[in-house]
Symmetry: C2
Subunit: 336 residues, 2 copies
């Protein structure tokens, strides 16, 4: 297996493609829907409102401290569905492979996807494989699309966010982006950084179970917490005031960001969420967050303000204020 | 707009990406789910068994007689969902763009997707955009994932296929592959060929409504009718016997295939289906098929046999027999 490579026949619809599916994908993802080998999966009836989310994953490098493109592609879509307060049902997986991509690397990535999906408890029920010529792709791109159902009692959206709401972050920010940056820059200290890539469905379930009045949940991936705050402000017609000292940032992440001239608020996360909740329930929500393994370092970091201009402000540790604007360039391409 | 190009900032999560979404995707796909601008879409409750299908689209050229990557990406996934006998609910769209891709071309493709989705009557409810560096992609790849619901009364699968079943094809085969081949080979006669790319959900609804006992539906895309016949034979533990003269092939497609040394049975279709039904209902199903605009040239082409080896045989116009095996190479890469 070690020297085998993807060639154009693996995307042909013919015998090679069928063998790839039967030898690699079916055993790894092992579930009755995929094994039916239709071009679709038929699942059982479900109740509640349906939620759908999609992610195309182009992260580089393919393997990084704390994860790889396979686990990231599962966690990313799981988290997008979970942020609606949904219970996850299933995932699809679409692969775009470049001719010459090592079969052994594909196998490692697929195993990682399978392990991640298993840890979340959801099947990868249908898939698709395409192969492009050498030089027309970049090894592997993975699309994952997820489906879940939200119970009628749960309603989370930016439109529910109102001035006075408290803003919570579920833990240390900037870990994923720092791990990627440190590896890409070939820093000798790269071993200190670990992506936070993780599935947040169970943390979300705990937060909802706390009974706190949550208005909105979102995960601060590309563009980091700063971008998320600006998005929610724009979508809810509010502003936000963040206490810089309250935002959990690891010392080594802060140091790396200083060296690279990047604000940790803009650095991507893959296992964190930001919660907006009614002020009176903030402490209760924080307690539920910290009681969960993925929310131990959670914190109340600020509140929603009336600013109609959608300004997001940070009160610095020196007591000054600065505006945290939308990102205009792209400091870190292909972070997910 | 004509000279604008995709750059890395369009995948950053920042202001450029938000503008791309607000200026291009939201107006084109225009629906409340997408306009909510969450990382997921929340839809209403539905009943029946859920069906999911996914396709990553890498077709070249991007525009071809009879369609483009945009319409193809919608039709392909619509058809995969429809083959389960499902009513379509919604689609997601994931874009992987190469730095330098012209904004105007993206805009044309997105408009085509929007028009196709509109003609099918389904919303594109959620999406994702990634940008890769110049030379790391090939202009544009599109993943579309679709969801539908199958009523409890409908059950279509290869496992229901039994010896004696009749096999129907819904019209002329090989049109899509021929259109792509003629353009790629730069043939002067390329104008004679038109892809059959079309959404088959309504034809499927008509077939089901006929009351004929249909056992399985599948669309013969990559690898053509021959590959489909082999798949179903393997999955149902049967064989198949096809009457070559009964298979509808346009004269010009037959001529092109002869010149290129390809059997039309292996050439891709994007607007045809193959139906397996109880023998006694074959004529009724054929009547329903021909009554639909997308099934006018439909025909009964053969029947399911007891061959446990999964052999697919063709009785030629000269009365001889030949085995139609799995495709082993890839005569036509990136057909969809």
């Amino acid at each position: 297996m070690a020297t085998k490579m993807i060639d154009m026949t693996h995307g042909s619809g013919g015998r090679s493609m069928t063998r790839l599916i039967e030898d690699l994908f079916l055993p790894a993802f092992d579930n009755p829907w995929l094994s039916a080998m239709n071009d679709h999966a038929v699942l059982g009836p479900s109740s509640g409102r349906l939620v759908m989310a999609t992610d195309s994953n182009v992260v580089r490098p393919l393997f990084f401290p704390g994860g790889d493109i396979g686990s990231l592609s599962v966690h990313g879509t799981v988290n997008d569905v979970a942020m609606a307060g949904a219970t996850l049902l299933c995932l699809s997986a679409g692969f775009i492979l470049e001719e010459g991509f090592p079969m052994e690397t594909l196998s490692r990535i697929v195993s990682s996807m399978a392990a991640s999906a298993k840890s979340v408890g959801i099947p990868i029920v249908t898939g698709d494989t395409k192969v492009v010529e050498r030089g027309k792709g970049d090894g592997i791109f993975i699309n994952t699309t997820g489906i879940g159902f939200v119970p009628e009692t749960v309603s989370l959206s930016p439109q529910r966010v109102v001035p006075g709401d408290k803003i919570l972050v579920s833990g240390f920010i900037g870990d994923h982006g720092s791990a990627i940056m440190a590896v890409r820059e070939n820093l000798s200290i790269a071993g200190q950084f670990l992506s936070d890539s993780a599935p947040l469905h169970d943390l979300v379930a705990s937060l909802i179970k706390s009974g706190a009045e949550i208005h909105c949940l979102r995960d601060p991936t590309r563009g980091g917490v700063a971008t998320l705050l600006n998005e929610i402000a724009a979508q809810s017609g509010t502003g936000a005031l963040i206490e810089e000292e309250a935002v959990p940032v690891r010392d080594e992440v802060r140091a790396l960001c200083e060296v690279l001239g990047i604000d940790p608020l803009y650095v991507a996360n893959e296992g964190k969420l930001v919660a907006y909740c009614a002020a009176r329930d903030a402490e209760r929500l924080l307690e539920a967050m910290r009681a969960h393994p993925l929310g131990r370092a959670g914190a109340i970091v600020g509140e929603v303000t009336q600013n109609k201009g959608g300004f997001v402000q940070v009160r610095t540790s020196f007591g000054g204020y600065r505006i945290v604007d939308w990102l205009s360039g792209d400091p870190l391409p292909r972070i997910c």
